[in-house]
């Protein structure tokens, strides 16, 4: 489903964020992405989301080189992907409910359906009682939960998660991980960037290790 083919990403001032990245992920896989700070995890996820394009090489999703998606089609490409951003990217002047509902609202989904769906994910992530608050009034972990719920709500076929448990305590983390496992069982492909060693060990999934923009290992533990 996903294929990185000799991908390079070099930022201004000659910062080599990615150097010759090659890997493929099949449909339905659950893959962890790890590596020290600045290794290039977020960069890889951004390339997959077409937030950025590679300077060399190509990124294939469903056998399509996504660098060639036109601006007009881009929104529709993104709608198939759920992205839990590392910095959450929430709308600070909308309520938790509206933030989670956003991906459904922009596709003009039926109101009742939205309501049910949002309530389902508010329960799953443990945000009950916070529906009407805006992110200003949330704790760090609560914001992260909103970001996660928003990524799940459209039942996307691919979920990109950038350090989704960085601000969560162990208990919440495991509940969130359970959500990922559940949708993964139903066929959703997952690419999960994390620093959490305990998580990597306990989950026993494929792990792609990055360091300084290069893949240094790609194996199951």
């Amino acid at each position: 489903m996903i294929k990185f083919n000799h991908v390079f990403k070099i930022y201004e001032k000659n910062i080599k964020a990615l150097e010759d990245i090659n890997f493929s992920i099949s449909k339905g896989e659950f893959v962890f992405l790890t590596g020290p700070s600045g290794a290039g995890k977020t960069t890889i996820l951004n390339l997959l989301y077409r937030e950025d394009i590679p300077d060399m090489g190509s990124v294939f999703v469903n056998n399509e080189d996504i660098s060639h998606i036109s601006d007009r089609k881009l929104p529709f490409y993104r709608r198939n992907i759920g992205f839990v951003f590392q910095d959450f990217k929430l709308l600070f002047d909308r309520t938790v409910f509206d933030n989670i509902a956003l991906p459904l609202v922009i596709t003009k989904t039926e109101k009742k359906f939205i309501k049910n769906k949002v309530e389902e994910y508010i329960n799953k992530t443990g945000l009950c009682g916070k529906e009407k608050l805006t992110p200003w009034h949330l704790s760090g972990g609560e914001k992260q939960k909103v970001a996660i719920a928003r990524a799940f709500i459209t039942n996307p076929s691919l979920i990109l998660a950038d350090e989704p448990t960085g601000n969560l305590d162990d208990e919440s983390s495991w509940e969130i991980i359970k959500m990922f496992e559940e949708v993964n069982k139903e066929g959703t492909t997952i690419l999960f960037a994390t620093h959490n060693k305990e998580l990597l060990q306990k989950m026993n999934k494929r792990v792609i290790r990055l360091n300084k923009g290069k893949v240094i290992s790609d194996e199951s533990i």
Partner: protein, 293 residues
């Protein structure tokens, strides 16, 4: 429907920015409105001055009035001419004897010393038009003298025309300025929300979905800005007219620009339309190059 909800949400959350946007449109409407009224007033005064200007052609004594008919018909067919009037020496006499002093003078003559004459009014008193008519008249027989005020009138007309040109230029400056200011304000409100726009793009919203609320918002702001601008203009002008009446005794309330019916309905609708157009084009101009992040 969704779009309206977006607009409403924007309204609620950034009350402060709405105020600024509506306020700016109101101010521009006040400026444009004052200009519009000043322009009407100036044109009104100018046309009153112009209406008093006429070319008077005195005809040779004894020249058959019948022969003059052709000339008059010819003149009437010209584009530049508004009105041509033949005044016989008899009519002129009747007119003049109304003044008693002139009567005594006229009575000292044996017969009526006044000539037949033609009065010509032009549509537009440009030097070019005047020259053309004078030249036509000069080519005719039976004309004793042509009076049109000469250099004096020409100077006055020139000044009037300059005033007209200046008013038009000022109008253009004002309209462009208003549009720029309003679009600047809207640009800034969009800039202040660039993060939100970025997030919308990130979750897969189409450009249309993102831009529509801003345009609707611009229109709504224009609507309210127009109404507010009109109210303020109305109050200012009413105070002004009362002051003028107190100060000089002149009553302008009867002047057609300020009649209640005109001012309170046609003008209200015009200001609202102006406001909406300002808001619409302002937001359209600003959306050209949304920069997010």
């Amino acid at each position: 429907m969704k779009v309206f909800k977006e607009v409403f949400l924007n309204f609620k959350k950034s009350g402060f920015m709405n105020l600024i946007s509506v306020g700016t449109i109101a101010i521009t409407i006040i400026i444009l409105g004052s200009y519009f009224i000043a322009n009407l007033a100036v044109n009104h005064f100018l046309s009153r001055v112009e209406n008093k200007i006429e070319i008077v052609v005195f005809l040779k004594d004894g020249f058959a009035a019948e022969k003059m008919k052709n000339t008059i018909t010819e003149l009437e067919s010209l584009n530049e001419i508004e009105d041509v009037k033949f005044i016989s020496k008899y009519d002129a006499y009747q007119e003049f004897v109304k003044d008693k002093e002139i009567l005594t003078i006229l009575q000292s003559f044996e017969s009526n010393p006044l000539p037949d004459s033609i009065k010509i009014k032009l549509k537009e008193y440009t030097p070019k038009n005047i020259d053309k008519i004078i030249n036509i008249l000069k080519s005719k027989e039976g004309i004793e003298e042509i009076q049109y005020g000469g250099k004096e009138i020409e100077n006055l007309l020139n000044i009037l025309n300059v005033i007209k040109i200046i008013m038009i230029v000022i109008g253009i400056i004002f309209i462009i300025s208003s549009l720029l200011v309003v679009s600047n304000i809207i640009k800034l409100t969009i800039y202040a929300r660039r993060q939100d726009i970025y997030i919308f793009k990130m979750v897969g919203a189409t450009n249309f979905f993102i831009k529509m609320p801003f345009i609707l918002e611009g229109i709504i702001h224009g609507f309210f800005g127009g109404i507010i601008g009109w109210v303020i203009l109305y109050v200012i002008i009413n105070i002004l007219l009362t002051e003028i009446k107190k100060e000089t005794g002149l009553d302008f309330t009867g002047f057609y620009v300020f009649t209640p019916s005109f001012f309170s309905l046609k003008f209200l609708i015009e200001t609202i339309i102006a406001g909406i157009l300002l808001g619409f084009f302002g937001s359209l101009l600003s959306l050209g190059n949304i920069k997010e992040k």
